[in-house]
Symmetry: C2
Subunit: 338 residues, 2 copies
């Protein structure tokens, strides 16, 4: 049934305190499983690494249960159905689902969708035409409700989600300003993606002064992927009735203990702000609309995406850690097999 | 035209750093002015002191300009028209308007409304049937969108606004939990106003533990008058899709320098929260609806209000400072003349 005798699986070996390291994960080899009644076996071809996974390594109450110690790391994947006892899936189907950092996975089909390899490269089902794309589309449009002429600031702007948010803002007639960590990222945002302005937070000493310079009319909405000091600098510049969409707080995920910051709630009164957090799955019943619109924008050339590809399942933890450090531009994916 | 030859006016003498003191205000005596073309003269009968006035003493960019040094302190007032060159107002009318801490004021009628002394005591135009009442009504109902069976927590619960919010929550079928600074306040909330629970933050060492005890099903919405450590303790207990209405942050207004606090935005993602700040004036076109509903609830006995009356314009700064320290129960007003 397969040429490969074993299934390699990355399991969580330790709950990291602060920054994760490769030693927090262990590569186990197990036999390739056989699908039982109501199951299918999927050969995983692409694996995703995303910031939310850091939360899954922590044994605290959150919106989703943690990965158990010794459990396969949870992740979005794209794979090919090898054998199926499910009517909805047949051998050879290309599917996307949360099947984890491994070569093979059994699935009962729940939360798995068949994707059309003719429409776009299949890895995009983990990016622009997948969870990060829907995160950008709904988390920005639904919460920030952008209007033409408004100024939109995006943090984590060169990442999988942020790079799409800034482009959607531009498509909607807004002035898009990005914050990213690197000159190459800033150049990509402004030269290739059409951001109106961007800056490298690693070399700008005073975020507030830089933002005031790049946003002379203030900030009407802010899409936050990072939190921390960058977000602190945004709040004083928000205009009356500005909207803040809280997507991620990656600057806080690897701290050994929570840091303190300036209190921000006063700004809510001063400028009648709305701050709203979301999880992409709350928009699941509208994904069809989002995927069709994103695909249409790709087709007509108004939306670009970029993938940062690492080869080999064995390099997944390294790719995850690199993504958390901001080493990627665009969506970080791991190519596991053809 | 009047028996009193002079107009006493409380002007801002210094911009306080930290807690205001009586020395920050000066009582000036000036001649009672005469109304010119398009003006009226109002004899002020009741003066209001409210937390927002602390902001007006600060020379920083905010939603409203500061009171200038030497300027009459801005305040809501109720008064009687003494002489009028305006068609909309006639001698003897009882009016409510922002006419300041003084005995007499000239007005061009902008923002001034005639009130009906038959409907309710005229001082309520500064409280339950005025700005604080509208603040409670719209700031709670519009932002928190309460549903029967939900748990609503109110901070500053024994104040002019908070005491109304908890009662509106109860009227809407919610479980109302109040946080206040004093045993007498807690007793009033639970025994007289029908709050389901309340606690005295001055004697409870661990707010989070107390809130968890009083809110066994978590918190569905939070109406915040105070900010600071009380608000910090709320966020971990908020339920999925909880709403937070930011009305005031009184714990922060008299700090000599801003304090740091735990970062709260992560909770927005974890529980898909909405946090929204407001100014009551954004609801001005709906005040009629709000006033009618509040008056109806008072008439049918479902809504109570309480006023804390200080006698004499000369005691206004002391009453203001006392209100900032939480010495009042209910709405703090100053009785200036009959």
């Amino acid at each position: 049934m397969t040429n490969q005798e074993t299934n390699r699986q990355w399991v969580l070996a330790n709950r990291p305190d602060g920054w994760p390291t490769e030693a927090d994960f262990e590569l186990k080899e197990t036999p390739v499983p056989q699908p039982g009644e109501g199951e299918m076996l999927v050969r995983i071809l692409w694996v995703s690494v995303d910031p939310y996974m850091r939360g899954r390594m922590r044994d605290v109450k959150s919106y989703a249960p943690p990965v158990p110690l010794g459990g396969v790391m949870e992740a979005g994947t794209v794979g090919r159905v090898v054998a199926s006892n499910l009517s909805r899936f047949k051998e050879g189907d290309i599917v996307e689902g949360r099947l984890g950092w491994q070569d093979y996975a059994l699935s009962d089909g729940k939360g798995v969708r068949v994707i059309d390899p003719e429409l776009a490269p299949i890895s995009t089902a983990l990016g622009v035409l997948g969870m990060p794309g829907m995160t950008a589309y709904f988390g920005f449009l639904d919460i920030c409700d952008p209007k033409p002429g408004e100024t939109v600031v995006v943090s984590g702007a060169a990442g999988a989600v942020g790079s799409l948010v800034g482009q959607i803002a531009r498509i909607k007639g807004c002035r898009a300003v990005g914050i990213a960590g690197g000159e190459d990222k800033v150049a990509w945002l402004t030269s290739d993606l059409g951001f109106d302005a961007a800056f490298n937070y690693k070399t700008v000493p005073n975020y507030g002064a830089k933002l005031a310079e790049l946003c002379p009319d203030g900030i009407d909405s802010y899409f936050d992927n990072v939190g921390g000091e960058i977000t602190d600098a945004i709040f004083p510049l928000l205009n009356s009735h500005a909207r803040v969409s809280i997507c991620g707080q990656i600057s806080q995920y690897n701290l050994e203990k929570p840091e303190l910051g300036p209190r921000l709630l006063w700004h809510c009164i001063r400028q009648q702000l709305k701050i709203q957090g979301f999880l992409v799955f709350q928009y699941a019943d509208r994904f069809k609309e989002g995927l069709e619109q994103m695909a249409a924008w790709i087709r007509d050339g108004s939306l670009q995406y970029r993938e940062n590809v690492v080869e080999g399942l064995e390099n997944t933890p390294t790719a995850f850690i690199g993504m958390m450090r901001g080493e990627n531009i665009g969506k970080q994916v791991i190519h596991v097999a053809d």
